[in-house]
């Protein structure tokens, strides 16, 4: 188990360094993700602007949920997503 964990962190470091090789592309990827999530949120905002509220839920409540879901999704991707590409390293 400790060995496996050590290997796992080695892979993470390797992946980080690999991505840092193409710094511009890393920045663009990050910006792209940010942009796409942001534009999705604009859609949510547009619906609330049109309808006001949804059974007592306001934009702020939904924004909170939206943020939490996106954060947890991003974190789980960061921790677990790499497994299916490990063999390529």
């Amino acid at each position: 188990m400790p060995d496996a964990l050590r290997l796992y962190f080695k892979y993470i470091a390797l992946s980080m360094r690999g991505q840092m090789q193409y710094r511009a592309s890393m920045v663009m990827t990050a910006f792209g993700l940010f942009f796409n999530i942001g534009i999705e949120f604009v859609a949510v905002w547009a619906l609330f602007a049109r309808f006001g509220e949804i059974r007592g839920w306001h934009l702020a409540d939904v924004a909170m949920l939206y943020g939490m879901i996106n954060m947890s999704f991003a974190l789980s991707e960061a921790v677990g997503r790499g497994f299916d590409t490990f063999d390529r390293w």
Partner: protein, 267 residues
């Protein structure tokens, strides 16, 4: 004239037949599409049921709009042609340039096959299911249906022109980054795919309808619904045509610039 079009037609039909092989993928995609469609219908239902105020488009129309979108989802220009992307990455694009045809139209044909084949596989079963079980309605009149058919043809040309153009930008951003990363968000939001355009802020309507993306989804769908009168099809075709020409011109210009500075290494 006809003869000079044959190679492009051949590529189109060959790619078409290749892509039609992926039936399992189509069925899996269909299931996903139904699932997402359902969720989106529930979201709009919740909004409409919690508000009494008059909306520019009614709930029944929104539901049909959503299922129509689920059925035609694959022809929206939100991604690039994967084979061309691979060719640009590994240098096989050099072979493509050796072919005695105009590379722009060759790629346009590849893109057309990639946009149309999966759509043809999915659209009809998806729409049939939606009409039978999920509350999608048929167009109110034959003229609405005809207008929608015409506008859909315009939308397909526009979608292919945009996709080809974006695919050519990969000549600069080889690994498939850059503009292709931004494309899904832009296209989904501005075409009406995520939210029907009439429900977006009123102040933005004229801008949204003048941009190229409304011609992909929103205008054809509203012709189908009768939300736009059938004679609005001419205006729709004019906008789609103008933007298609602009994207074709831009794509050809990008290709001529990109192919001049192309360096393929190795052998």
């Amino acid at each position: 004239m006809i003869e000079s079009l044959t190679p492009y037609g051949a590529i189109l039909s060959a790619r078409f037949r290749t892509l039609l092989q992926y039936r399992a993928a189509a069925i899996a995609g269909l299931t996903t599409q139904v699932f997402w469609g359902w969720i989106r219908v529930m979201i709009f239902e919740a909004f409409y049921l919690s508000s009494a105020s008059e909306q520019p488009i009614n709930l029944a129309d929104v539901i049909t709009y959503i299922w129509l979108g689920q059925a035609l989802f694959r022809f929206i220009p939100w991604d690039v042609e994967k084979d061309i992307q691979q060719m640009i990455r590994d240098g096989n694009v050099a072979y493509e340039m050796l072919r005695p045809v105009d590379v722009y139209w060759l790629w346009f044909s590849r893109v057309a096959a990639m946009r149309l084949a999966p759509t043809m596989l999915r659209a009809v079963p998806m729409a049939a299911m939606a009409v039978l079980f999920f509350g999608m309605t048929l167009p109110p009149s034959w003229s609405a249906f005809g207008a929608w058919c015409l506008a859909t043809c315009g939308a397909v040309v526009l979608a292919c022109a945009i996709t080809t153009c974006v695919t050519i930008t990969l000549m600069w951003t080889v690994s498939g980054l850059g503009i292709t990363r931004l494309l899904p968000g832009i296209v989904m939001a501005l075409s009406g795919m995520s939210i029907p355009i009439p429900l977006l802020p009123d102040a933005l309507q004229p801008i949204l309808l003048a941009l190229p993306f409304a011609g992909l989804i929103d205008m054809p769908f509203r012709l189908y619904l009768g939300n736009l009168p059938p004679n609005a099809v001419w205006w729709t075709l004019a906008i789609q045509g103008a933007w298609s020409l602009a994207f074709i011109a831009l794509g050809r210009w990008l290709w001529s610039r990109g192919s001049r500075r192309l360096v393929v290494q190795g052998g």
